[in-house]
Subunit: 285 residues, 4 copies
């Protein structure tokens, strides 16, 4: 990635891990690096903002996603705001949901409430050694989780408002899947007018033509086809009986849903190729 850019250094700030070698959070935050990718637990990075040594900060955690001083880094919708010094990386579920919903919302084609079911691999819950995340507990298992509303709902609604000027209520339920990585979102939204399958697909095709990381196809997206990549696969159909849009989006929760999109944003902020370091393709089968 950084070959030929010797002056660019990176730091990953996370509690206990990325810091490594005895370095404290303070040490990492103050380091004179080019980019600081932060995954600090909620609330921690804010305390250190004044001391940050890096020219560019990408906050992978959720603290600054609604802050006006940070760019909400859903890259495909904020390129004109980059480069910038502070990027709030979107959450994994909002990334998947917004990518597939924003084109319809921006065109005024859907009304609320938008109901969204999200399915995430276990790595989405982090690396904490929690008994409910053991293979023995999750193997062969699937379930919804979390309270209503999930903290990602506000981020989704705000994204629809800010990036598509659409005032849509979202009802979202996340589910845990017995897979290591991968995230699938399926959304249902009432149509405001006439739209058929071909028209729905065309909305997505038109919006994402030329995008390096977004693929639109008629077949439903699947998580395995994007695992290990920064790609998002999208599709949409019309349920004519219910007069609803049904659309689905697959990303890798650790790729486009986290670290991949963070690097994509950093690339643009640093004047690198947007795809630098992100050309991996999924392994099949």
């Amino acid at each position: 990635l950084l070959e030929g850019h010797p002056s660019i250094t990176l730091e990953l700030a996370s509690q206990g891990r990325g810091a490594g070698g005895g370095a404290s959070i303070e040490d990492v935050v103050r380091a004179e690096v080019d980019v600081l990718f932060s995954c600090l637990p909620s609330g921690l990075l804010g305390n250190h903002l004044p001391e940050i040594g890096a020219g560019l900060v990408i906050d992978v955690a959720g603290d600054h996603r609604s802050s006006p001083e940070w760019v909400y880094g859903l890259t495909e919708f904020v390129r004109s705001d980059l480069p910038v010094a502070r990027v709030a990386n979107p959450g994994c579920y909002p990334t998947a949901a917004l990518l597939v919903l924003l084109p319809f919302a921006a065109a005024g084609l859907i009304a609320g409430p938008v109901t969204i079911d999200g399915l995430s691999g276990a790595s989405g819950a982090g690396r904490s050694a929690d008994e409910t995340l053991l293979l023995a507990a999750l193997h062969g298992n699937a379930r919804a989780y979390g309270p209503n509303p999930h903290r990602h709902v506000a981020e989704m609604e705000r994204g629809l408002a800010d990036l598509a000027s659409a005032d849509l209520t979202v009802s979202f339920t996340p589910h845990l899947l017995p897979i290591a990585r991968g995230l699938l979102v399926t959304a249902h939204a009432p149509l405001t007018g006439e739209l058929d399958d071909a028209g729905a697909l065309a909305v997505l095709h038109d919006r994402y033509r030329g995008e390096p990381f977004v693929r639109v196809a008629e077949s439903w997206p699947e998580t395995k086809a994007v695992a290990g990549t920064n790609n998002a696969h999208l599709s949409a159909r019309i349920d004519a009986r219910a007069n609803m849009l049904v659309c689905s989006s697959a990303i890798d929760n650790l790729g486009k849903g986290a670290a991949g999109q963070a690097v994509q944003n950093a690339n643009l902020c640093l004047g690198l190729e947007e795809t630098a370091g992100l050309e991996a393709i999924a392994v099949w089968p």
Copy 2:
């Protein structure tokens, strides 16, 4: 199951398999047995109806679910219609969806459109040696499948109308999970009035109190807790921001979603204990 009932014999009619030993479908259908459980492919059983030798026919396939001459066998809602000679066993997705939605629909608490996402283990697709159902293709994978509307939508809407006198439009999207068995349905429905979490749970508790195979709990149901059983686990919450009911239901697609409910119906038709042969509990972990 049938110990002490020497006169009760069963037959399973399916194409090629159950028949076994060279017996033709005709032979099986004409056999003088007490119960005929039929899983014949769509359209086949109808041709043989006049020749059926069994006193009781449980059609596990979908041919007769809308026929007025057959009882739609969602047991918990049709006990007063049993015993009967012809039972059309419900589909797996409709069983899960109707069990959790009917109490709310019957009380007039929800409006349409009801959006339902279903997640099914791979055994729901049958035993056909299809390349897309290989472990190599499904491992670590999840995706929506099928056209819109799925053939189960009409069955769900008819069930809501017939069993709860509710005229509700359903938008349903099934998904395939990388597990062998287990089915989860999560449904979102607009509320018609005031309801909170406790009230939503109470609707389910009140309806299913004393039911041997239905368990209502505050925690979201999970597929592994019902795999290998005839049980259904249900829960419900309110998404107050969106003014929607969010409810979820877990069954074993081959248990309460197919063979288990078929035996439950047969038990009632034959005057046996409803739970006979169905006391298995799930294996954990």
Copy 3:
């Protein structure tokens, strides 16, 4: 299980869990119950032996497997020693390995070193919230684990000596599989004389004819066919080129490999049917 036996009570002693409700280990151990099933961590039960209130103690942990005051509870080989007041339940790997090797060892058909590879589901590692046992770490993964020699080696060699008067060296390597439960052992042993496939199978068939929990078949055993049961599936073949016996054994590590065999032993000690409470069959698929 215990219907009709109101005087039989059971207690499960484990640290923190089974005790429940604030009861201390001391309370449980001293309780005037009929059977005490102990899964206490290594070393703990011994401290409490003098205070034990139960007439029958089944130690599922490994502390007493080499103690002359306890019967080593590989049920099929110690029935004549039962009933007894103290049973040391065998380990999961030794149970699987000994069941398939003992008939050959007893007949003097094999020499050492016997090389054994064991494959176990993640529940074999217990319920500890260990980062290496998370689904995210184990999904799609398999590896050997542990030091050489594994603590189960001595138990295997002692079992071969005590139950088959065979002095055979064992080299054993356990592996972790990405499944919740199930244990497979494949063993290779040099032949001492002539034996062909049919002869090898006959050795197993002859030894286990009539055994309720042991099935011998020509096809290789698979873990899923015994998961959730107390059954052991065995097979054997001859590798004529290498002049070796190759044999394989599948059990549920939590069934015949732990709790199932504990109940089997308790049944015999209490004068119950040996199969009482253990008739579950595996769920397929």
Copy 4:
């Protein structure tokens, strides 16, 4: 991979698939390409040898692994024989077994019989829509498979003889794992003299120092750490009680075990960088 090498074209010959677009096997075989990678079913490629248009043929199938006119392409052991026009790519199990055993065999440190248990992901069985390879049948399942001796045994013994001048008998049993890709081999071999853990590791370290695709470590290798790559991870220990070497090797059955090694061989034959196109690292978790 081939950027800057416009004259290098590749063809993949396989029955029905790779040929695609109506091209017959004959068309593909006769094509004037630089490299022909053939995965034709056993026996087919031989019929077409005289017509082959490609300058370099890599036979990924097993037909020519014992042919003196072909180089047996276990790259790390045949580099001095390359470039060559005909490479017989090794099988997946032999690749994993030979990589970890050859250094010990070459040094005369082990005797036979060498017992090897192999564990393979389901993609090792190919893409045929076989009922026993369905996710529903394999999920949560593990078992040995195949007859004795497996066709790979002769290849392993020949490899030990040709590449290490060692006359060792091999007893090999393959197993099927519920994972999509990945292959693990664990081997046990009697020691001919003194060797301890550190010495065993040193044998591997010394042999593979500087090898781009082979990593030696003290911890047992795991399949997930090499999935999607051309890497092999090796380790070894001594079972002092049994006086045996215990060693284990993990590769991706479709990487170093098939297509990866085929490309590695092609690179060397074409004068490209050996690692060209093969720098992928495994995705974790």
